[in-house]
């Protein structure tokens, strides 16, 4: 199968405009004839459901939480990028485009990234109009700060709660459409399958998490905004319910999965303690604007940080990357932290931590200024660790945080399955092999507010679809499959809890497919994952019934999917014989231990096609063509 990305012809800066003109329109009176299902209510799903409702489509919107306001986008802290150039520091659409392409280690599509940079400015305008209280300067204009991988200040923020404020903005627009009767909300629903009729996505099957009832919902198109799969590592900064299940169901129904091995390990998280930890907490990258990263120069130096004199500290990021310093991109900062700890220079009880020190910033700007910028983050850190970061440097260590991989989509954000659109973190499209800070919020909202409203119209008016009802055999079959799987999970009756198995899966992936990878380890991991999957289906214990509010059953279904998906992730990592961004294969590195790409053989998107449960998936390649940027070795020196 040929993967057609449907990138419009013509000069880069004119592609989106041209494409919007060429897309067929649906006239206002006809929009109300179309039903659209949106799964997920995060920044992508919430903004899409609201915008499609405003246009006049009828939207059914689903989420697993008790309210659409709780999607995990809410936890994003630092900010959202836009090419406004309000700071007069040399920013432009072209520069945001270039930084994002370079930050992604030249593994994303030029056309998609350029469009993202173009619409970034509209996002800020719209969010301000919604009443989002962004930080402001004394004169009343919007404030900006810097994030990793950029030398301009283009990040807009609302204290350390930018994701919360943007999500609540999208949620309020969504609620307005619910009140207007354009959107119907279905909270506490988990998607169990996609229904495909005549090769087109025509509906979904969901489980009502309160009653246990399996429900069918039909539509003219389905939009998945179901987030990323970082929880495959068990410990991650994702919310507890974040999962791969909806994406994986779609993959099994014909949507290709792209670049699953591109996982992002975020450099500034609170280090792991103990063995019963359930999740990790991120400390925003924005802290690297003022915090300085260091470790003791001598391995094994166990003195408290304030007793280590300046001359015996190694500010390794500032030293190694003088032009970006502490604000190098995430993959670079993470790998360097790991390297320092592997040399025995790590600090804290476990030796798997580095310092993030604000002493100089407090001396320079005063405690008050630092408190205003990061107060809630410092408070959160103190709550978790019982240590005061105004007095003692923070300890941080990398943790699984975000995934660049996801379902393959074309320029219209449609997957290889007709009528199935995928947006936000759930797709693979804009961040290449590494995402820059403050770009996830930008992408989610770009997809939902400014891309899908145009492209879905083109699909709906350009294709013919038979009339269907949920009595169609394809729905009956999907319900049968979902019910059987649920019963199978409840009848395993083994001796290990689902969480315990999930934790082991996480250990395998972190060890062999985490911050650095090698062929031998990946092969070993694949075997271990298969064995663990077998054990799950023989020895897991899932209490309770299917006709009830049953959180153990919810988790079991998600972990079962993670156990299958993990193998795909490892296979993809094995096939990519190069290092790029978040994927670091030890065999491919420069003399300075930086990731070494192989543009001749791997300048492509790896898209995996499901071929059946007992057959290996088939790898398809979409070549990446660069006409506007020169592929270089990424340098942040």
């Amino acid at each position: 199968m040929h993967l057609d990305s449907k990138i419009p012809s013509g000069p880069l800066a004119e592609k989106w405009d041209k494409h919007r003109f060429e897309l067929k329109l649906v006239n206002p009176a006809n929009k109300r004839k179309f039903n659209i299902i949106v799964v997920g209510t995060g920044l992508a799903g919430g903004s899409a459901a609201a915008s499609l409702g405003e246009l006049g489509y009828y939207v059914k919107n689903f989420c697993i939480q008790d309210s659409p306001r709780r999607a995990h986008s809410i936890a994003a802290q630092g900010g959202i990028n836009a090419a406004k150039n309000y700071q007069n520091d040399g920013d432009s659409i072209r520069r945001l485009f270039y930084d994002t392409i370079k930050g992604g280690d030249f593994r994303s599509r030029e056309a998609n990234v350029y469009r993202l940079a173009q619409v970034s400015n509209h996002i800020i305008d719209h969010c301000v109009a919604q009443g989002i209280p962004f930080a402001r300067e004394y004169g009343g204009l919007l404030a900006n700060r810097s994030f990793g991988g950029a030398q301009v200040s283009r990040t807009f923020y609302a204290r350390g709660q930018t994701g919360q404020q943007l999500l609540l903005g999208a949620y309020s627009s969504l609620m307005r459409q619910v009140a207007a009767g354009q959107v119907s909300m279905f909270p506490r629903r988990e998607m169990l399958d996609i229904v495909v009729i005549n090769g087109q996505a025509r509906g979904i099957v969901v489980r009502n998490l309160v009653t246990g009832e399996i429900e069918s919902h039909g539509a003219d198109a389905v939009v998945l905004c179901t987030g990323g799969y970082a929880n495959v590592f068990y410990l991650s900064t994702n919310a507890m319910a974040s999962n791969v299940s909806a994406n994986f169901r779609a993959y099994k129904k014909g949507a290709f999965f792209a670049n699953p091995c591109y996982t992002q390990i975020h450099p500034t998280c609170i280090p792991v303690h103990g063995t019963s930890q359930s999740k990790l907490t991120l400390m925003s990258e924005s802290l690297r604007n003022d915090g300085r990263v260091w470790v003791p120069k001598t391995p094994g130096d166990k003195r408290p940080p304030n007793q280590i004199p300046e001359s015996e500290r190694d500010y390794y990021l500032e030293e190694k990357y003088p032009s970006f310093g502490n604000l190098v991109p995430r993959d670079v900062a993470s790998r360097n932290a790991k390297a320092q700890c592997d040399m025995g220079k790590g600090v804290g009880e476990t030796g798997f931590a580095v310092y993030l020190d604000f002493a100089d910033a407090i001396k320079r700007d005063g405690k008050e200024v630092i408190e205003q910028k990061y107060g809630n983050l410092f408070q959160m850190y103190e709550k978790i660790t019982a240590s005061n970061p105004y007095e003692t440097p923070m300890m941080i260590y990398p943790a699984s945080h975000y995934v660049m991989g996801g379902l393959w989509v074309d320029y219209n954000l449609m997957s290889t399955l007709d009528g199935l659109f995928v947006m936000g973190e759930a797709n693979f499209s804009d961040h290449g092999a590494n995402r820059l800070g403050a770009s996830a919020l930008m992408q989610g909202l770009a997809d939902g507010y400014f891309v899908i409203p145009y492209t879905i119209g083109g699909y709906l008016s350009g294709t013919s679809r038979p009339e269907i009802t949920t009595d169609h055999p394809a729905f009956t079959e999907a319900i049968r499959y979902a019910t059987e799987r649920t019963q199978k999970l409840l009848s395993i009756n083994g001796k290990r809890t689902v969480d315990d198995i999930h934790r082991e899966l996480g250990h395998i992936l972190w060890e062999y497919c985490g911050m650095s990878r090698n062929d031998e380890g990946l092969l070993k991991a694949r075997t271990m994952i298969r064995e663990l999957r077998e054990e799950f289906w023989e020895n897991a214990v899932v209490p309770g019934s299917s006709q009830d509010f049953n959180q153990s059953l919810e988790r079991a279904g998600r972990v079962a999917d993670f156990l299958e998906f993990a193998e795909l992730l490892v296979m993809d990592a094995f096939e990519r014989k190069e290092s790029c961004g978040g994927h670091f294969n030890e065999a491919y590195q420069t003399e300075e231990q930086e990731a070494m790409r192989d543009d001749e053989n791997f300048c492509h998107v790896a898209a995996w096609e499901h071929k059946g449960d007992d057959t290996d998936p088939e790898l398809h390649k979409e070549p990446l063509v660069f006409e506007n940027v020169e592929l270089t070795q990424r340098s942040y020196k």
């Binding site: 915008s51 405003e54 939480q65 008790d66 309210s67 659409p68 306001r69 709780r70 995990h72 809410i74 936890a75 406004k84 509209h122 305008d125 719209h126 301000v128 109009a129 919604q130 009443g131 989002i132 209280p133 962004f134 402001r136 009343g140 204009l141 919007l142 609302a158 709660q161 994701g163 919360q164 404020q165 609540l168 309020s172 627009s173 609620m175 307005r176 009140a179 909300m185 909270p187 309160v210 919310a239 507890m240 303690h273 103990g274 019963s276 359930s278 999740k279 408070q379 959160m380 709550k383 978790i384 019982a386 507010y449 409203p453 969480d499 315990d500 209490p543 309770g544 509010f549 153990s552």
Partner: protein, 254 residues
């Protein structure tokens, strides 16, 4: 310093909205004081599962204090005794070896029981959909810097906007009033120039909806402010009252 403690839990168990509930006692043994409260419940649930019993149902998601999904009354205090803290951010270092901990769900007529510690807070969504938004469609907004907003006003709006919608204010209030929640949204939008055109209709609609949903009235008990994990101030309630009175006096919308 990290250490391990043993505590006894008295947990409210209730199979569903129409079934009688009651307290059950469970030991939580060998709990690291570095664990969060929810991780402690995870441990108890793991043991219940292995013993062939049904684990305790409780809502939770982000576990970093921002999604508003978690919440329970711990020894009579919403989200536990620590000020400005959600339940997921409460750590076991604040408890001592041998403690007995009583855990109950939010109790309010407007929050019907789902199961154990889980309640239905969809009434909050209903209040927002009555008018907790600015009516602006995607696409037509002017440049973001075209309307300057004084920094202190933006900060006040942000203080109110920090609400996570967890429901602790309702559970803490002897009248089960949703005034703090409602006033936080009304304040945020009334403070900003973008929210002014609809300020009147918004205040009337949201307050009326709150009454309709069987939330109680505010009688200045201040329990909500004391228990709010985001420390939302009751000055927002004063602002709501001003907006509401103003709306009643001048509104053409009744």
């Amino acid at each position: 310093m990290t250490k391990n403690i043993n505590v006894t839990l008295k947990v409210w168990r209730q199979k569903g909205p129409h079934v009688k509930g009651g307290f059950e006692t469970y030991p939580a043994t060998d709990i690291s004081t570095d664990m969060s409260f929810l991780e402690m419940i995870d441990c108890v649930n793991e043991q219940l599962t292995l013993d062939g019993k049904e684990p305790i149902a409780f809502d939770h998601d982000c576990r970093e204090g921002i999604c508003g999904m978690c919440g329970a009354v711990i020894n009579g205090r919403c989200h536990g005794q620590e000020k400005g803290t959600t339940l997921c951010q409460l750590h076991m270092r604040h408890f001592s070896n041998g403690d007995t901990i009583v855990i109950e769900p939010w109790r309010a007529t407007a929050f019907p029981m789902v199961k154990d510690l889980v309640v239905d807070r969809s009434a909050f969504d209903q209040i927002i959909l009555a008018g907790g938004y600015i009516s602006v469609n995607t696409g037509g907004a002017p440049d973001a810097n075209s309307i300057p907003i004084a920094q202190e006003i933006a900060e006040l709006a942000m203080d109110a906007a920090a609400c996570i919608g967890c429901g602790a204010c309702v559970a803490a209030c002897p009248n089960a009033s949703a005034m703090l929640f409602t006033s936080a949204k009304i304040s945020q939008l009334a403070l900003l120039p973008q929210g002014k055109p609809e300020a009147t209709s918004r205040a009337l609609a949201m307050v009326n909806k709150m009454d309709e949903l069987c939330f109680g009235n505010c009688s200045n008990e201040r329990e909500c402010e004391a228990e709010c994990p985001k420390e939302i101030s009751i000055s927002n309630i004063a602002r709501l009252n001003r907006e509401f009175v103003k709306a009643g006096l001048v509104s053409v919308v009744k």
